[in-house]
Point group: C2
């Protein structure tokens, strides 16, 4: 009998197939103990009602995903973005998530300075820390793949996430989320996972397809690509991580189009064989 | 009067518009002093005839581009790939190029180990060094963007290129080529450019488009994207680089479809304004 006690399926993996109620019921029906909640879906249902539904199904929640995009050089835009992060922290607290997935934001097309965007992100994270501590939700700094640094996140390596955590020096407000897709190419991955250690609060799995067709929405099912997921999981666990293994697949061409029960069955099979 | 004495246009930038003869004549007509030669085009014309045509137009040649793909775990495939690199080194020598752009190769889909692919690449580079020295052509180690590490090159960062040069310890056989597109996201870029120093033998410019649609063939014209190209050029020159500034744009949707004389005129304009 396979042990799925640490398997988590991120709601975005079934983005187009199920609404909140069907998704949460599906997780319970399939014996998946935990989920991460996608914020666009949360907005449809509302945080209080979502919490009631999660508790009703007896599920654990890891993260609310995602908020951020705080890199703007315009102070008014930046203030609005930070208020939005604070609202997301409140929502994460309401649904019982220990952390909010933080996506930094991209490069301003007029300024064209990735260094300036990084400097501002770090400054703004420091300003968000009091609210995170107040509501008891950590900001999970998630390095994203360098191919989305222009538009989604200038936090492009685990080393930079570790550097930021060092600079912020606030383990009650900040943690690190690791995604196999974002970091598998990194020559420094093993050393930086060890360095992250207990900062690791989430571990996302999925795969890199050889014929990748889109920089954001073409992730693969574990086992269908080039990543040695088990080797990365072993490094993450050797660093002290004991949390859920979270399946997060953005897949416009394939997994978002399939029967959701089939997707969950395949996830369970691949979790056993390659994760 | 603008100074184009350091401007180089890589042949691949006009891949679909011009054959070898038209391309070389076009470069001379537009007053472009140097070019890099695309190996598929060279095969159509032959190395000896290409050299005659280049000399006839009075052009300088930087690199022959590209050869490599030596990561296979299968010894027979690897030996064939290495022989192909040696042939490319011979061709580079014949056309008067100082270096051959080396593209490592990707990850084996069965083995799924990027670490093993990197280890083998370094071993095989050492075996290629005697031939490079014998023909007087350097292998230019070019980090490619992490988004092509699965299929094109496991050499994903400038730091790794510097590490490999340290390990190989053979400045007569190895150098480093830097491409803005491949490295602009790297938090360690400034330090690693300084570390590369005189190893830098080529500097490629082009831009990252916000709406990138393909992981290989959707590069932008300088100024159309998010990269601060001039800032990177300044770092490269501060490290001691005095060579050509080489425009290399793979662009299935745009620049490969335009009138080639218009493309060259726009390159000259952007070279002045943003490079």
């Amino acid at each position: 009998m396979a042990d799925f006690s640490r398997l988590c399926i991120h709601q975005v993996t079934l983005l187009h197939q199920w609404d909140m109620a069907d998704f949460l019921a599906g997780m319970r029906r399939h014996g998946i103990p935990a989920t991460a909640i996608w914020r666009d879906k949360l907005k449809e249902t509302g945080a209080a009602e979502t919490r009631r539904m999660i508790d009703g199904e007896g599920l654990a929640v890891t993260s609310l995903c995602a908020a951020g995009l705080v890199t703007s050089p315009d102070p008014i835009s930046a203030a609005a973005a930070m208020d939005e992060v604070r609202r997301a922290l409140d929502e994460a607290a309401m649904i019982g998530a220990s952390n909010l997935m933080f996506v930094a934001g991209g490069v301003d097309p007029h300024e064209k300075s990735i260094e300036a965007a990084r400097t501002r992100t770090l400054e703004r994270l420091a300003l968000l820390a009091p609210h995170a501590r107040a509501v008891g939700v950590k900001l999970a700094l998630e390095p994203l793949h360098p191919m989305v640094c222009a538009t989604r996140s200038v936090l492009s390596t685990l080393a930079l996430a570790n550097d930021w955590c060092d600079a912020l020096a606030d383990d009650d407000a900040f943690a690190i989320a690791l995604d196999t897709y974002a970091v598998w190419w990194d020559p420094n991955l093993a050393a930086e996972i060890a360095r992250a250690g207990r900062r690791l609060i989430a571990f996302h799995v999925n795969d890199w397809l050889a014929d990748t067709r889109d920089v954001r929405l073409d992730r693969g099912m574990m086992g269908d690509g080039l990543i040695d997921i088990r080797a990365i999981r072993q490094k993450v666990e050797a660093a002290g991580y004991t949390g859920y293994i979270e399946v997060e697949i953005f897949s416009e061409r394939d997994w978002w189009r399939r029967d959701p029960d089939e997707v969950v069955d395949i996830i369970k099979g691949r979790y056993r064989s390659v994760v």
